[in-house]
């Protein structure tokens, strides 16, 4: 009787020290025409619970690959990925991805797409209400019965966001989710995500190649370089929130960051 009790008592302390996500010397090698391609090369970093980290890097440097490794869609060639203290071996609803491209199910309506993953997790009598709540959260209440092909790109990304938020994941992996949107919609989506994040404090890994987006969103920026894909440097963003893109502090941070690319 004594031992298990002790264990429970000490568990919260352990969790505090444990990062939400730990990447340990992870490499990913793809076979290619002339031998092999070292897409992710010996990458290590930690992310604390509730932290919003941006992965910033040029196209083709391995951002998507790194995200897919964390999601568990592909296995690292070397190294170890841990969430809390469990090793990632396959995909699961505790780590949800908002994909770079449209990955909604085209034969399901907006509300059915959002309900898809929640079916097994949320009791039937509460499911409809939860779906409605998430529809409203991303501002798509009027489009619940539309098919993906009938809504705009920005709306699709909002559906993609809602269908993972409904699972209440600890870790949100977002792969240039707003990359294909116009400036105004993109800013709206950033604000939406930030307000949701402030409310629910998920841990977020946010991939982007847009400096302004990274500075607007991130607690910390991980700068990636290509060939082979490495973390070149780690830059904390110590600007107060909400961040104004017009402010002097923002501008000087932007200039500083750009000079380091």
């Amino acid at each position: 009787m004594n031992k298990p009790l002790q264990l429970i008592r000490t568990l919260p302390d352990i969790k505090k020290e444990q990062p939400a996500l730990a990447i340990r010397k992870v490499s990913k090698i793809f076979p290619s025409d002339d031998g092999y391609l070292n897409v992710v090369d010996n990458v290590s970093f930690d992310i604390a619970a509730g932290e919003l980290v941006c992965l910033l890097g040029p196209s083709g440097c391995g951002k998507t690959t790194l995200l897919k490794l964390i999601a568990g869609f592909i296995k690292p060639s070397a190294g170890d990925i841990q969430i809390q203290d469990r090793r990632v071996s396959r995909p699961g609803p505790d780590r949800c991805v908002v994909f770079q491209e449209d990955a909604l199910f085209p034969w399901l309506t907006v509300s059915e797409n959002i309900a898809f993953g929640a079916k097994g997790l949320i009791p039937k009598d509460r499911l409809a209400a939860e779906v409605d709540r998430h529809l409203e959260m991303v501002g798509l209440g009027a489009f619940r019965d539309y098919l993906p092909k009938e809504i705009s790109g920005g709306m699709k990304q909002r559906v993609a966001l809602a269908r993972v938020l409904i699972l209440k994941p600890q870790l949100l992996l977002m792969d240039e989710p707003f990359g294909a949107l116009d400036a105004q919609t993109r800013e709206d989506m950033q604000n939406l995500l930030l307000s949701l994040w402030e409310e629910f404090s998920h841990t977020i890994v946010f991939v982007t190649h847009d400096l302004v987006e990274a500075i607007t969103m991130a607690d910390r920026i991980l700068l990636m370089g290509s060939n082979p894909g490495k973390i070149r440097s780690e830059i904390p963003v110590n600007l107060s929130r909400p961040r104004k893109k017009e402010s002097n502090a923002f501008h000087s941070f932007f200039r500083n960051l750009r000079s380091r690319l």
């Binding site: 897919k68 999601a71 568990g72 869609f73 396959r90 995909p91 699961g92 609803p93 780590r95 949800c96 991805v97 994909f99 491209e101 990955a103 909604l104 199910f105 085209p106 034969w107 399901l108 059915e112 898809f116 993953g117 097994g120 997790l121 098919l147 269908r163 993972v164 699972l167």
Partner: protein
């Protein structure tokens, strides 16, 4: 739905109208002898007798129901066999590279054999009757169903699986929740092609001396020189084929969201 302008509505009927007129004129003015091509009124009359007259009140009278149900049964049986083998095998070879390699040479080899070549063999194996026809129908319908299912499931966007996996869908549920719906448009076209071929091979199977069925009636009428019955039979097969295609489509749409929404 948008209303079509009147001339657009009559457009599809112009060619059949002209053909019918020419046919009618050809018979009236004696351009072709009656024993080669009876005039349209005779066809309508024969059709009426074949469909609705009291059974046994004359040759072919009232036989339609018996013939049609015999034929439908054979098509239904053969087509169902093709579906229950073609779709699972198609999914397997669409998703598992080993299965694809295992089966592709065999399937392509068999597919290259014209269906009619199987007829003599089927007659030896199964004798004249139901089983030969069902075998031919199933064999013919299998290939388009298998090939389209394999192609459709193979081309499913891998992102959809990854999305499914992250949303907690396991492998088995993934087949029904993601794979089949995503491949549905191609599976449907395979099924429709297969059903069309089923009717073709039904007639082939029934030409071999079975006592009933629409194909048998046509063959029988040829021996007796009843061109009108042959034409009636052809028209009825066309109508039944079209109706069964509609039925297939409606059924799929009724049961599968993905079929309803792929249009």
């Amino acid at each position: 739905m948008k209303k079509l302008r009147p001339y657009r509505q009559i457009l599809p009927w112009i060619i059949p109208g002209i053909l019918l007129t020419v046919w009618f004129a050809a018979c009236r003015f004696g351009w072709v002898p009656d024993y080669l091509l009876p005039d349209p009124f005779r066809i309508v009359k024969t059709g009426y007798i074949y469909l609705f007259a009291q059974a046994d009140s004359g040759p072919y009278a009232g036989r339609f129901l018996a013939d049609a149900s015999a034929s439908l049964l054979r098509v239904g049986f053969g087509f169902s066999l093709a579906v229950v083998t073609g779709i699972p095998l198609g999914v397997l070879s669409g998703r598992v590279a080993t299965c694809r390699r295992l089966m592709s040479a065999t399937v392509n080899g068999l597919r290259a054999v014209p269906g009619i070549c199987w007829l003599p063999l089927a007659l030896v194996w199964f004798g004249i009757g139901m089983r030969t026809t069902v075998f031919l129908v199933a064999l013919a319908a299998f290939f388009p169903i298998y090939i389209n299912t394999a192609a459709g499931t193979r081309q499913v966007n891998p992102l959809l699986y990854q999305a499914g996996a992250m949303l907690g869908v396991g492998r088995i549920r993934g087949i029904f929740a993601i794979l089949l719906p995503a491949a549905m448009p191609q599976i449907i076209s395979g099924l429709r092609l297969g059903l069309g071929l089923s009717w073709a091979y039904l007639v082939l199977g029934e030409l071999t001396g079975v006592p009933n069925g629409l194909g048998a009636v046509i063959m029988d009428a040829r021996m007796l020189g009843r061109i009108d019955i042959i034409i009636v039979g052809i028209i009825l097969i066309a109508i039944l084929g079209r109706l069964s295609d509609l039925l297939l489509n409606t059924t799929l749409c009724l049961f599968f969201k993905s079929a309803r929404r792929s249009a």
